[in-house]
């Protein structure tokens, strides 16, 4: 497996994206690009298949006199950075820290889509879940209760049918509200149990010191503990991982026993 170094991705490193920055993430074929086009008025046509160059579409829209920059991230099922697409999406969310993170989900198979939403909720708080394709879902007799979903996730939920322009105004309103702080999402955090939470608790202060707000420390701690290979490209993180592994005083006896860690060194 090849790991692409973050510094190779020039577009990620330059922080030239105008603010406020809105990033769109979602599984493939959830109408992410349709939403992007509807927001920006562009006619971006994209496809996601192996071999296709990963690129980020970028556009702007105005709402309530604020000029929002919108970036369309590659469609992925996960943020584990198994593929270049996933790595681009993850690094963008980690390093460019969008002001508003929009996760587009497909109402016809919401269950599958919420996995990505959950992973993004572990990186950033400023997140809106957009349940798209509600027209398609209605045809199949599926109705999504946005209020209940919003309560469960702890983040705002907007239902749309982007192809017909339904819900787009509400979506822009919500983007504006989250950006301006009128709505403060508080994503529900997964509790990983006593043992892991203790390990997370010990790693977090250390990660906070090193990254001083550049990377979400809880996410970084989880990546270290889960033996996530994809952090190999984040040199500082790898350093902390190796250090903490060597310090038996840290109490990570279980650390070396995790299956994902075996092949790492």
């Amino acid at each position: 497996m090849k790991f692409y170094k973050v510094r190779d991705m020039d577009f990620l490193m330059d922080d030239n994206f105008p603010r406020p920055l809105v990033a769109l993430a979602g599984n493939p074929n959830t109408g992410k690009s349709t939403i992007f086009n509807a927001l920006t008025g562009l006619k971006q046509h994209t496809g996601n298949w192996p071999g296709k160059t990963v690129s980020l579409a970028r556009g702007t829209f105005y709402h309530r006199n604020v000029k929002f920059c919108v970036v369309d991230l590659p469609g992925t099922y996960s943020l584990l950075a198994n593929s270049l697409e996933e790595q681009v999406a993850r690094n963008f969310i980690l390093f460019n820290r969008p002001d508003v993170m929009l996760v587009i989900t497909d109402a016809t198979c919401l269950e599958r889509n919420l996995n990505l939403a959950l992973q993004i909720m572990e990186i950033t708080d400023r997140i809106i879940v957009c349940v798209n394709l509600i027209d398609e879902a209605a045809k199949k007799g599926i109705y999504v209760d946005g209020d209940v979903l919003s309560k469960e996730l702890g983040v705002p939920v907007v239902a749309t049918a982007a192809r017909r322009g339904i819900g787009l105004f509400e979506l822009k309103e919500m983007i504006f509200k989250v950006y301006s702080g009128k709505v403060k999402p508080s994503p529900r955090k997964v509790n990983y149990g006593e043992e892991l939470e203790k390990a997370i608790g010990e790693l977090v202060p250390r990660l906070e010191n090193t990254f001083s707000g550049r990377i979400n420390p809880r996410w970084a701690a989880l990546s270290i503990i889960s033996g996530d290979y994809s952090i190999e490209d984040l040199e500082e993180l790898v350093k902390i991982r190796d250090e903490s592994r060597e310090e038996s005083a840290y109490g990570y006896s279980f650390f070396s026993q995790l299956p994902g860690n075996r092949g790492l060194k």
């Binding site: 290979y229 299956p259 075996r262």
Partner: protein, 79 residues
């Protein structure tokens, strides 16, 4: 009916089972979890390719094709 645990590659076309366990380790285990292969999930063998491998499965509203080497490491419960 009696319950059986078999590997996914032995689930006949048109039959439905429930994912019981994933025997993959590390990254590929995580990958399968990301794709929706979570214990308890219903899975149906959809159709198989001309050569018999890979085989397409319906799981959580989508179709996913797996090679035998991968599907043989996923256990399903059938009734």
């Amino acid at each position: 009916m009696e319950k059986h645990v078999i590997t996914l590659d032995r689930l006949p076309i048109g039959k439905t089972g429930r994912v019981a366990a994933i025997l993959h380790k590390g990254l590929s285990r995580r990958r399968f979890l990301d794709l929706g292969f979570v214990p308890g999930t219903l899975i149906t063998t959809y159709f198989t390719s001309f050569t018999g491998d890979p085989t397409a499965y319906r799981i959580r509203g989508t179709t996913i094709a797996l090679r035998k080497e991968d599907s043989s490491k996923i256990l399903v419960i059938t009734e």
